[in-house]
Symmetry: C2
Subunit: 430 residues, 2 copies
Amino acid sequence: MLYEHLIDDCLAKKIGEGGLSEETFERSLAATEPALARLRAARDDGSLALLALPARDDDLALCRPVAEAYRATCADVVVLGTGGSSLGGQALVALLGGGLMAGSPRLHFVDNVDPASFDALLASLDLTRCGVLVVSKSGGTAETLTQFLILLPAFEAAVGRAGLAERVTVISDPVASPLRRLAARYAIPCLDHEPGVGGRFSVLSNVGLLPALIAGLDVAALRAGAAEALDRGLVAAKESPPALGAAIAVGLSGERRISQTVLMPYVDRLADFALWFRQLWAESLGKDGLGTTPINALGAVDQHSQLQLYLAGPRDKMFTLVVLDTAGQGPGVDPALAEEEALTYLRGRSLGDLLQAMARATADTLARNGHPTRVIKLARLDEKVLGGLLMHFMLETIIAADLLGVNAFDQPAVEESKVLARQYLSEAGQ
Amino acid sequence: MLYEHLIDDCLAKKIGEGGLSEETFERSLAATEPALARLRAARDDGSLALLALPARDDDLALCRPVAEAYRATCADVVVLGTGGSSLGGQALVALLGGGLMAGSPRLHFVDNVDPASFDALLASLDLTRCGVLVVSKSGGTAETLTQFLILLPAFEAAVGRAGLAERVTVISDPVASPLRRLAARYAIPCLDHEPGVGGRFSVLSNVGLLPALIAGLDVAALRAGAAEALDRGLVAAKESPPALGAAIAVGLSGERRISQTVLMPYVDRLADFALWFRQLWAESLGKDGLGTTPINALGAVDQHSQLQLYLAGPRDKMFTLVVLDTAGQGPGVDPALAEEEALTYLRGRSLGDLLQAMARATADTLARNGHPTRVIKLARLDEKVLGGLLMHFMLETIIAADLLGVNAFDQPAVEESKVLARQYLSEAGQ
């Protein structure tokens, strides 16, 4: 099993009135059936491209040569892109835990336009041994275009015009756009952004998997895990972890005024996964005055930052702890160093024991104090499990959107500020 | 001036009914006067140690030799500690923007107990050229003790018993504790944690400033900026930025059901500052069912992740954007590359222009849509300005606690889970 999905501590019958009543739970769960039926139909008829990704391989045939060339020639690879063009890749590559696999290029996800950071990164790179990915679904994202337009002359000076075509790859919609035209001008190869897959759902497409391939991850296992979670998710609601999760989240927001959902992995390698989820949930549900605020936290460290508020502040949060079995992992504490009475509890214990005990204690304390708490237990963390988690949360988000009656796939509100930013930028030069 | 503090877009008279009414604003602001009076008295009679820190230098005399020794002999310095023992130092060192100053050791803040991360870090370090700081106010923090107990044998093997005393420094309360006894056993020097200063208020004590000195920061300027913000803050409420900020935050939480406060710097170097604030606000106010949830965001990148929710989701948030003047910073876009009509707005613009336009557009769009939005404008970002921001937010938090009627300086709720974690850990070995 990829993961255990434990929801009892979200229910009133278990944790008291902070939890979801049986009645609302049943009603909310039943209400997920139409979404599940539509998702099953969309999987079968191929009308939702996201659901077809786990079983595909043809698109990877185009990615593999790029990844192999970058792995053979580059010490660093810069990924230009923001939001859904970056967070998926970051979540995947984080699986390697900061220390990349020996022989793999270092990946740098440049998702902001802070000139100080950009200059510092450029100064640290040997551009003659550097690859670049430029990811923008629309081909018109101001941040990504600006990064690219500024990088281009420096990069051309380092690798020559011919080098650009070898060392730069664009991922963008297969339609005309400023980015596509720029790429054509320099004969830079373009891969198609999966047309029917929005940025925040693109982690299992080339947007996430090309960086993963460059980093040396097993992308087939990522997709296999996603396929398994898809199969396990598109069943009857009572057996479907994503339907159960969506029913609880939406049920609690209505019945108990739960306005914030905290995703708190007790694994450093899942910190970026929580940031990926934060975009997915916020942009998919935050519309029409609805949606709950996704909050990324990290155990055990945020016990020393946020737990006081979580336990004793307003009862407006639900919690999802992602807990990896780390028992016995890492070296143990030498009993001779922990002789004194006050340290008895640490004798022979490892960091993994401590992390696990912290996670269990936090989950239990939240539940004992009546806060709805879900635990996702992982026996291991690898590409397959991560692929499963990614698919789980995409399905949960889509089902939650259906329960709320909002469109999971658009983000209409951000247009106003984009227009304004362009206007201010135009004026700035006058 | 260290910073401009612009609050008009939080007020109903400016942004409509999403903002604070004039009546509540006046009442809330007047209610900050007793807290301001107490803070002024505490500054004058020395009864609140935090307020005395900016003018002190005696404590730094003990830090400087340690920092100089580490700078002379170490390539890396590991800081063991969690929560308030780590977040302040991280916020300060982030001012260097990832690329540390030439000749300074790399700092590694180890604030979690993930065995994979810990092992990867240890494997990457040359322990013979490494320094260690161990920070725990109580001297009994399970995570920090475990990290230290596991590191000790490996470190002793690398540098010898005598090396431990030269390369390890403890910061802890000047009372008996497991950590103090362990240090004594190995003749490891201990600096006193400022007794009257809690972890989350300790950034301007040796807890934050020793790492800052090791990294090569100008700590005198940090304290000078804090002193200036203190002087500017402890005046009549109408002139006091922290009192105005607290009055607005608490007023909005009561009048407009604002349950979340988003701190969104448009500067990468302030991302860790926002995490520091997140602990400060959550642990200080999150009690008795009160407090709002602090949310750290980062501009412009989170426009592509959270802005849709911020604009179109529930009206339960207030926003503080921290905007640095970055106009013209970084190289500009070559107009020859941006010839086409769709790119006109980018011709000659730099990343700094773009970042600034994004910040302004987001602030204006939030306000136009009736979301309470404060802007803190920085003409520059250096030690002095950062010191001022740190003091501003500590004062704002203390004043907000007073308005809510909670104790800003305790965190009683986390005890239950600590006890439970020790119990689980003890049981795990049986």
